[in-house]
């Protein structure tokens, strides 16, 4: 538990401050978009959520590699928590994007838009991660198979992103690129602050999730030491690392 609780208070305060600053910048500093007007403010929550969730899925794959290399259960836990948090963030990004689409295009969803559909495919792919874990009873095998799944799907995320960027038929705006994009500086400041705030939120919640899981494992260990194996409530099959 100690490894994940360390720095948790500082991280929580930094996240709260950054979220407040980013909201203030978005609503009181960044100018209104000339084309879209006020609805463009959704951009500052939708894009950071999407970017951080995709990065989190890839990070889950990187942790999966570390688990297969070392066999240390903590990497399996990190991989599990990164994918778990990314799923939550991606649902948030998807909902925010859908609301923006309704306001801008008049539709909640556009099936012919490759950016939206590819993002949905990535989310659905990672939705199968937990059922996969749940279907395997042996914890050792569960962790190994989950790591392989995380690596393969984690590698799919950047490939999918690049393929969609190469697509020519899209409605979805392209405001960011390697040259810095076509945002004015004031919008860029608000956007990068929001991105940092959401990334910090991801890191903080992931640490809380890991701390909670480790506390649970530690409590079970204590119960076993005090009362013996018979006193443990049957755990059953679980998707979370044990």
């Amino acid at each position: 538990m100690t490894t994940h609780v360390r720095h948790l208070r500082g991280l929580t305060i930094a996240t709260a401050v950054m979220l407040t600053v980013s909201l203030a910048l978005v609503f009181f500093y960044a100018p209104l978009d000339a084309e879209q007007g006020f609805i463009q403010k959704i951009f500052y929550i939708h894009v950071p959520l999407a970017i951080v969730s995709l990065a989190g899925f890839t990070l889950g794959g990187v942790f999966g590699v570390a688990y297969l290399r070392t066999g240390d259960r903590v990497w399996d836990m990190r991989s599990y928590c990164a994918i778990h948090m990314s799923l939550i963030f991606s649902v948030g990004g998807l909902l925010a994007g859908s609301i923006w689409a309704k306001g801008s295009w008049g539709h909640w969803w556009v099936w012919s838009e490759p950016t939206l559909v590819s993002y949905l495919i990535v989310i659905l792919l990672f939705c199968t991660y937990q059922p996969l874990r749940f279907s395997i009873e042996d914890p050792e095998r569960q962790s190994r198979y989950a790591a392989v799944f995380a690596i393969v799907c984690g590698a799919f995320v950047p490939i999918n992103f690049i393929v969609v960027r190469l697509s020519t038929q899209y409605l979805h705006p392209r405001v960011l690129n390697l040259e810095g994009g076509n945002l004015p500086n004031s919008m860029k400041l608000a956007f990068y602050t929001s991105l940092l705030a959401i990334a910090l939120l991801f890191a903080t919640l992931m640490k809380y999730e890991m701390a909670a899981k480790e506390t649970r494992i530690e409590t079970r260990r204590l119960r076993r030491r005090l009362l013996g194996d018979d006193a443990l409530r049957p755990l059953g099959r679980s998707a979370a690392p044990q």
Binding site: F27, F28, Y29, P31, L32, G37, F38, I39, K41, I42, I45, H46, L49, I88, V91, G92, L95, A96, I99, W100, K102, G103, L201, L205, Y208, E209, A212, T215, R216, T219, L222, R223, L226, L227
Partner: protein
């Protein structure tokens, strides 16, 4: 802070305000639900730790109350 808000541009909530509010409310609601789940889990853990603490205290009390074995010298005598 008051000066900052006084100089800040007014938010044009009448046009696309409901969509912007909707997107941010969804985000905040998800955050609240997640934190709520974490709080519930924390309470469960605290309850279990409390239970274990009581069991440990009970066991220690029983050990103290049990008759102490005699020292080796007395047993010989």
């Amino acid at each position: 802070m008051i000066t900052f808000f006084a100089q800040a541009p007014a938010l044009p909530l009448h046009t696309a305000g409901k969509y912007v509010a909707g997107a941010y409310i969804v985000f905040i609601l998800m955050l609240i639900v997640y934190v709520g789940i974490m709080v519930r889990r924390l309470h469960t853990n605290q309850r279990e730790i409390q239970e274990l603490k009581l069991l440990l205290e009970e066991r220690e009390r029983q050990e103290l109350a049990a008759p102490q074995p005699l020292p080796d010298s007395e047993q010989v005598a």
